[in-house]
Symmetry: C2
Subunit: 478 residues, 2 copies
């Protein structure tokens, strides 16, 4: 049976701020082991049996970043397709779009496996086994949710009630969904013995799903169908479907649980035990790091004195602790977060406040990624800004022009091919050029190693929006 894993790379994971940012969400965060959740999810999906394609549903702005991550896993044995959301919608829209996209290519008999991109699953074998069992249940006509056996009365998860009297292969029909219960309710649910955490992993038959959506969520189905039909495939590849923004904007902003699973008679839960962790807080993240003799878990250059049971993650600066315990310290180049372990959920409140005040640290890091590589603002001063620009081999910035700023470029590593007004030149390491305001210019890396360039911008207005793009490898014209 054709199985298409659908990687859902949606939310931001604001409880992992300041490492997660709106433009650098949770699936992209580097974990203590150097890997990230997105690549782990991709590998998990491609290791399954009978996979002929992997579909990723993500925000339009994250396409290049996602492709970059996937390329690190190359060569993949299966093609990757993308559905891009130009506006954020909840999981109902994403699952529906995935189903329609898969149905168009593989027919209504195909099965999809919905995989959130920000979960950790330790036991691949048990996971593969569970997927096989889910596929059998799906073939029997059910929507399958993967239920995790609860280990504590968590209040930040949803719970699924299994009808132990109605077994379905290795699972059960469900009798109810309980979203983020209060502590006492969660305790009762666990006591009952027939409840599971809702992992957000689902398996569907595409045809059955679409029929059931027509019944329970017709508005979602109708608008997402429109968004697919009016899609604009982008220039790079026909494996990318960009949903139509206007149609998608009309889609109800609800979860697939709320839109379908709580209403449908076809839902069954498969109890699973493959060591699942949604890394929903810094506290959960800290547990991935081994502790020292004082119970401290430390990443980076850290010196402690009379301190214990702390988690520190600090990559660019010496961090010292004196006489403190149970702290979570997350240091990034433009934002520092210090939380008590028991308040690690409160980080969300900080992000809400930052978003409200449009503070740049909720949106992005000082180092940004682009299709051609990365840039990092080293310093901003009065009428000047300094950036480190790294261009990947073969990468090329658009042919562009600025009205208000001139730029000095110094190559400190690699080689650059530069268009500067009517000149075309090769700049070797330690050579430089000066781009006057108003002059068209382009930067390319024709070499085989990264090009590292220091750009000193100078002018009375240095906003990123002072850019006119004439030609762009990656289809960006504004």
């Amino acid at each position: 049976m054709t199985l298409i894993p659908v990687i859902m790379s949606g939310g931001t994971g604001s409880r992992l701020w300041p490492v997660s940012r709106e433009n650098h969400p949770k699936p992209f965060i580097t974990l203590p082991d150097g890997d990230n959740l997105l690549r782990k999810t991709l590998r998990r999906a491609s290791a399954l049996n009978h996979v002929t394609e992997i579909l990723t549903v993500t925000q339009q702005s994250l396409l290049f970043k996602t492709e970059d991550e996937y390329q690190k896993e190359a060569p993949l044995s299966v093609p990757c397709h993308y559905v891009l959301e130009p506006v954020r919608r909840n999981t109902a829209a994403a699952v529906t779009a995935a189903a329609l996209s898969v149905a168009a290519r593989h027919g209504n008999e195909a099965q999809i496996l919905v995989l959130p991109a920000d979960h950790l699953i330790e036991d691949q074998e048990a996971f593969t086994q569970a997927v096989q069992e889910a596929q059998i249940m799906v073939a029997q006509g059910f929507h399958v949710t993967f239920g995790i056996t609860p280990t504590s009365a968590e209040t930040s998860f949803g719970y699924i009630q299994a009808n132990q009297l109605s077994p379905v292969s290795k699972g059960f029909k469900t009798t109810g969904f309980i979203e983020k219960p209060e502590l006492r309710v969660a305790q009762d649910l666990i006591q009952s013995g027939d409840c599971y955490w809702n992992s957000g992993i689902f398996c569907f038959n595409v045809g059955v799903l679409l029929q059931d959506l027509a019944l329970h969520a017709p508005e979602v189905l109708r608008t997402v169908e429109q968004a697919i039909n009016n899609n604009t495939s982008i220039t790079l590849s026909n494996q990318v479907t960009r949903l139509d923004a206007k149609s998608l904007a009309l889609t109800p902003d609800i979860s697939i649980d709320y839109a379908l699973m709580e209403k449908s008679d076809l839902v069954a839960v498969l109890p699973c035990d493959f060591s699942w962790n949604d890394i929903g807080s810094w506290r959960a993240m800290s547990e991935l790091v081994p502790e020292d003799q004082f119970g401290n878990r430390l990443i980076g250059e850290v010196i402690t004195h009379q301190s214990s049971k702390n988690y520190v993650q600090s990559k660019s600066r010496l961090t010292t602790l004196v006489g403190v315990e149970d702290l979570i310290v997350i240091d990034t180049s433009d934002a520092l977060m210090i939380a008590h372990k028991n308040h690690s959920q409160g980080v969300k409140e900080i992000v809400t406040a930052l978003k409200k005040s449009a503070h740049p640290t909720h949106l992005q890091h000082q180092t940004g990624s682009r299709p051609w590589g990365t840039f990092c603002v080293l310093e901003e001063g009065n009428n000047f800004k300094i950036k480190r620009i790294v261009v990947k081999p073969g990468g090329s910035l658009s042919l562009q022009m600025h009205y208000h700023r001139s730029e000095h470029w110094v190559v400190v590593s690699g080689i650059a091919k530069v268009v500067n007004d009517d000149q075309e030149l090769l700049l070797d390491t330690n050579e430089s050029t000066f781009i006057r305001a108003g002059h068209k210019h382009r930067l390319e890396n024709p070499g085989l190693i990264d090009l590292v360039l220091i750009e000193v911008q100078s002018g009375h207005y240095l906003g990123e929006d002072d850019i006119v793009r004439f030609d762009d490898l990656y289809g960006r014209h504004h």
Copy 2:
């Protein structure tokens, strides 16, 4: 009576790390009010009556930095003299050198007022009054120590016992010195009612002091006399005496309390009450900042959530607190320190560890000061280093050459006069030049506003010691 205030600018104040560094000691730290202790001490000294000169005893490496601070207070009504220590010695050597230096210019009848450069005194009027009273006691033949009425059983101060039966003007003869007592001893001392904190402020008659040193600390006197006699006055000014390093190295490394005050019969204590604070820890510093409704004292961009009674000082980065209390958070560009308020003395242990491992953060900040201005390392990479260089109007770097690195200079503010090999050129804002390795070069600011220049260094060796100086305004040739 001639009174020469002697500003003693010696120690590092390691309990105020990471803001204090060996090359940026406590007197230079910017206080919450924007001022620093060194300038406050200078103003305190110059506000006294009958002052004809101010003498500063400090480390040789801090001369230009000290002069810079003093210039911010200009015009001063009195000339400033300096005694420079090429090696660190304790207060006995510094006081002796000051006495000899003053005796040579003003004779043995002059009085000196020894003022540590790192104390805060709120009540200038009470202080001026106390100095007048001390001068009367000195005229009666005594060495006067300024005793502070204790407000708590501090264990980090020295205590002076007053002989209440032997009044001397408004003070008393002393019966003993107790250095940093244990808590119980400190409590007893306070109970006794005749003990004062040793402020480290002293008033002496120079002739009486030198006679008494000959009696109680002849080795100190002899070696410091040698260090003065073999001094090398530096080129800039005849107001600067640089002690001879070899002679000074032979001087016992002891405090004036231990060398003289504990032994002499001529010591009297003057009880004072001018609101004295030695800012001996971050906890003491925090109390200079007003608290918000949650008892937090915050400097910089700080967001708190369910947090109280914290002190945060963060100048270049957003800092956020979630569910924490009683923390001290000090953030600098290359080092972060988080301490519990009750452990603020433990910071010293961190500095000791850093010093032992020769960690750069014990020694200096990323922004360094030079006679001509400041420089800041913005980034160091593989074979490149980027600096922001600020040259004061009229400032000039030495004519110099590097064997292993070339330099790109981009002027981002002001105007630069540049020698580059055999060329001399003026670079306006937004102009640049390239200095090849092996080429002599010099950078000057001929303008009336600060020159800001971005330097991109490139080469296989970028150590600060790759410099050959040919000519230097400030007498530095190595």
